[in-house]
């Protein structure tokens, strides 16, 4: 295949071109309540061609090999159109020219496990949730995505990387009278099938939560000091800060770009933030991004001071900074964009969870992520459940909790960072394309003055 895609590149008369061919195999097993509702094992493939011509940088995706010539002609014509109209010609930052075939170590490759066994495993976890008499339905899906990517460039890069992402995830919904409550169930990773087994304790624990959530009271809207658990701290780091670390997002936003200057004091002194796709075994792991650039650990913030950002080759050149290997595509349908790999707040070994509670005094302890979103400087995310905290003691359970804030205000309101680091097993960032391997996490953190939505 590498020979075939290099042949396509030869037909492009440009300053630079690269091509990615990818085979994406997906196995999906879905349960809806007791019923097996979906089983599908299919494979799809396609190409992404990018062309740089005199400062104009275009891309095209196509699925039929016989369309290669038309695709190359279209991409070149678009690059020429861009070159005639852009004020700032695109340059690509220097990157090592790599020739490598990488297949990460896995504890039990999912392709060696039968479909029947995957159905049985999913059925068993789904069955645990259904044991709760208050549960009226479930929607639990096993999802296995294997990407086999071939990348070649006119600079001579030839990279092949095979990645597999697994999850068993979904919702359990319980009902009591007119009230329904749902709990998320999320296990998964990118290091093989072994981590998917023997997870009964997790499913029993979250199923028990559903009963408690039916008895919980809705949170009253207002301004609170809060502790976020590791899951929510990860979502906060991703939504509130992480997206502004992506160079392509702030590149053409002059005000934000100025605020996000390297060296700016953006957060409180307790805040150290890292993005690191290179740690083996975690969900966001990869060796090479979709431009063939080796991934790097990036210290984004140290003591509240901005120290780095995430780049593609194009944005690295535009910012005059080094490449980091963070240009990633969802699959063969997309050109890559700048994405987080595995972003987290570094733990403070000196601060226990009890100390954070004591420092909080009165407020809320919020747990479990149900997703979030960012727009401009504002972010929002949803806590799956929470608790009142009075005099440092965790009290009654609360539900229906949504949080909103301004990035720059909230970063300065982070008053404490715990010592109990944990990374997520399940990703799902939707910045234009879905990134299932978007990993985040951190320790418990204490934030002052957070806006919580809810009834008065």
């Amino acid at each position: 295949m590498m020979h075939g895609i290099k042949k396509i590149l030869e037909s492009v008369d440009a300053d630079y071109a690269d091509i990615r061919y990818e085979v994406k195999k997906e196995t999906i097993v879905g349960f809806s309540g007791k019923e097996l509702s979906r089983v599908n094992a299919s494979s799809a493939d396609g190409y992404v061609l990018r062309v740089l011509y005199k400062g104009g940088f275009s891309s095209i995706t196509f699925t039929k090999p016989e369309d290669a010539d038309r695709a190359a002609a279209t991409a070149l014509a678009d690059a020429k159109l861009l070159s005639r109209n852009v004020k700032k010609p695109v340059r690509l930052a220097k990157s090592p020219v790599v020739k490598e075939h990488f297949r990460p170590e896995m504890s039990e490759h999912p392709e060696k496990v039968s479909l029947e066994e995957k159905i049985a495993l999913t059925r068993s976890y789904n069955g645990i949730i259904l044991e709760n008499p208050k549960v009226v339905t479930t929607s639990i899906t096993y999802n296995e995505t294997c990407r086999d990517r071939y990348f070649a460039s006119t600079e001579g890069a030839e990279v092949r990387e095979e990645l597999a992402t697994l999850s068993i995830a979904g919702l359990g919904t319980a009902k009591d009278g007119a009230l329904t409550q749902s709990a998320l169930f999320l296990i998964g990773g990118s290091d093989g099938m072994a981590r998917m087994r023997s997870r009964e304790d997790y499913f029993y624990k979250n199923t028990g939560l559903l009963t408690d959530m039916l008895l919980a009271k809705p949170v009253a809207g207002g301004l609170y000091n809060v502790i976020l658990d590791q899951d929510l701290a990860g979502v906060f780091t991703h939504e509130a800060f992480g997206h502004f670390s992506e160079a392509d997002l702030i590149e053409e936003m002059p005000d934000l770009r100025k605020k996000m200057s390297i060296g700016a004091q953006l957060g409180s002194g307790v805040l150290n933030i890292v993005d690191d796709p290179t740690v083996p075994g975690q969900l966001g792991f990869y060796r090479f991004d979709d431009e063939g650039v080796p991934a790097k650990r990036v210290q984004l913030m140290k003591g509240g001071i901005l120290t780095g950002r995430l780049h593609s080759r194009r944005t690295a050149a535009a910012f005059g900074e080094e490449v980091t290997g963070h240009s990633v595509a969802e699959d063969y349908r997309y050109a890559p964009i700048v994405r987080m790999g595995s972003i987290f707040i570094e733990p403070d070994p000196a601060t226990s969870f009890d100390k954070l509670l004591s420092n909080l005094g009165d407020g809320l302890y919020l747990c479990g992520s149900k997703g979030g979103q960012t727009s401009g400087e504002n972010f929002t995310f949803d806590a799956a459940w929470g608790f009142e905290v009075k005099n440092g003691k965790v009290g009654k359970m609360l539900r229906d909790i949504n949080i909103m804030g301004n990035l720059f205000t909230t970063m300065k309101n982070i008053a404490g960072v715990g010592n109990d680091m944990l990374l997520s097993e399940f990703g799902g960032c939707g910045k234009g394309q879905v990134n299932r391997r978007s990993c985040n996490g951190g320790p418990h953190i204490l934030i002052n003055n957070v806006v919580i939505g809810g009834v008065k």
């Binding site: 299919s42 159109l81 329904t180 939505g453």
Partner: protein
């Protein structure tokens, strides 16, 4: 296609073949400068089999191995996914406008010229970030099944937008959608600039229960929860708050809500769904009264009712129609328009918040109808006049509660947001 049909027929199963080929082209301008020109050519085939009360699915992007595609679907079928339905054979259907020949001739240069024009019209906002862009979509679809159905349709659309981005990152946008590339009306862009001018001050609105005007660009906050509640899937799963309420008044009598794929005034009209069931002008709520659930083939058969023509290869998160299987979906959901202009709605509101954009529509207890969303763009109104942009504000409620208190419905529908009008609601919780 003939080879695939023959292979599928040899299994003795009922079969359905969905073919789709598409082309898209987009131009992106950020901060007044040309940022990108991107194109995509994609095709694929999706196969469904039904045999012995079970169904199986498979898909491919390149139909080079019909036997392999059928074997994959048979392997899926043997896994035991129940199917109580048969593929239908409808023949008669409405003639709809879904495609413009002019769209097929739209070049990157054409999209670029319009994007530059929109940028230039907005550039009177000196010192502000101006974004604009245009995107062309063209697709051809064919749906064949073993019952004899054979439908083919072409679609074209051109979407375009012009936006002013505030220093804090709030987006003030005009968006438009048509079958072919037509210039964005200058008045729409002027309106954006005027709105931006009026909102330079940031204010913290009073909290508690307030009047909220949901603009078409923020309607998804409400519609997402309606889609969940009125779905035959939710009914089957016993999580719909609308169960047992057909014929009951659940919303204000000011609200009529329908899904009409036959409306070809905007792109995307359909005479059949993605399973070959005829579409109709389907009223979910008439003057606040719930009229019925919507179904695909699968959930209609499970409940024991006729399908309603709402089996689409769509999800709330978009996705590739070739990869997705049909499921109940409301593709053209919109409220009937009322009589009030935007200015009249502001006067009617007196004091409250106009919501143009929200954050977190996808979060919260959606099956229950609950929402609690941050405002990415909301403007505060006092005595019928705009006083500034709402700062760090959230609005919360439950649609089955707040939509009983609809004060008025606007008369200005927006094609870019499914032809929805603005809706003024009383008693929505505001926090900050």
């Amino acid at each position: 296609m003939k080879t695939l049909m023959d292979c599928a027929a040899r299994t003795g199963a009922e079969f359905e073949i969905y073919f789709r080929s598409s082309f898209s082209r987009s131009v992106i301008i950020e901060n007044s400068e040309l940022k990108g020109v991107e194109s995509s050519m994609s095709s694929g085939v999706s196969l469904r089999l039904v045999k012995g009360g079970m169904s199986g699915v498979s898909f491919t992007k390149n139909l080079t191995d019909s036997v392999g595609l059928v074997e994959n679907a048979m392997a899926s079928l043997r896994a035991g996914v129940e199917a109580k339905f048969s593929f239908p054979c409808f023949k008669q259907h409405a003639e709809l406008k879904t495609y413009s020949e002019k769209a097929g001739k739209t070049s990157s240069e054409d999209l670029l010229a319009e994007s530059f024009r929109m940028r230039d019209l907005l550039s009177r906002m000196e010192g502000m970030q101006i974004n604009s862009g245009a995107q062309l979509f063209i697709s051809q679809c064919r749906l064949i099944n073993s019952a004899g159905a054979d439908f083919a349709w072409e679609e074209s659309s051109v979407e375009k937008y012009g936006s002013i981005i505030s220093p804090g990152g709030s987006t003030y946008s005009a968006a438009d959608r048509g079958f072919e590339l037509l210039p964005m009306p200058e008045a729409a862009l002027d309106k954006v600039a005027t709105l931006f001018d009026a909102e330079k001050a940031e204010v913290r609105p009073a909290t508690g229960k307030r009047k909220i005007l949901f603009m078409p660009s923020a309607m998804e906050t409400l519609l997402w929860r309606v889609r969940s509640g009125a779905s035959g899937q939710s009914l089957h799963q016993s999580i719909s708050p609308l169960a047992g309420k057909i014929g009951e008044k659940v919303f204000s009598e000011n609200l009529t809500l329908r899904n009409n794929p036959l409306d070809d005034s905007i792109p995307g009209a359909r005479y059949v769904d993605d399973e070959g069931v005829l579409c109709s002008d389907f009223a979910l709520m008439e003057m606040g009264v719930f009229r019925g659930f919507y179904y695909d083939l699968n959930y209609a058969a499970k409940i024991g009712v006729p399908p309603t023509g709402h089996g689409f290869r769509r999800s709330m998160w978009g996705g590739d129609p070739i990869v997705l299987r049909p499921q109940p979906y409301l593709s053209h959901l919109c409220f009937d328009k009322g009589e009030k202009t935007f200015d009249a709605l502001l006067r009617e509101m007196g004091s409250g918040i106009v919501v143009f954009g929200t954050l977190g529509d996808h979060t919260g207890n959606i099956p229950n109808g609950d929402f609690s969303v941050g405002l990415s763009l909301g403007i505060c109104v006092e005595n019928g006049r705009v006083v500034g942009k709402a700062k760090d504000t959230m609005v919360s409620g439950n649609i089955y509660d707040i939509l009983k208190r609809v004060v008025a419905v606007g008369c200005e529908r927006e094609p870019a947001y499914g032809n929805n009008p603005p809706i003024l609601v009383d008693g929505v919780d505001v926090s900050n």
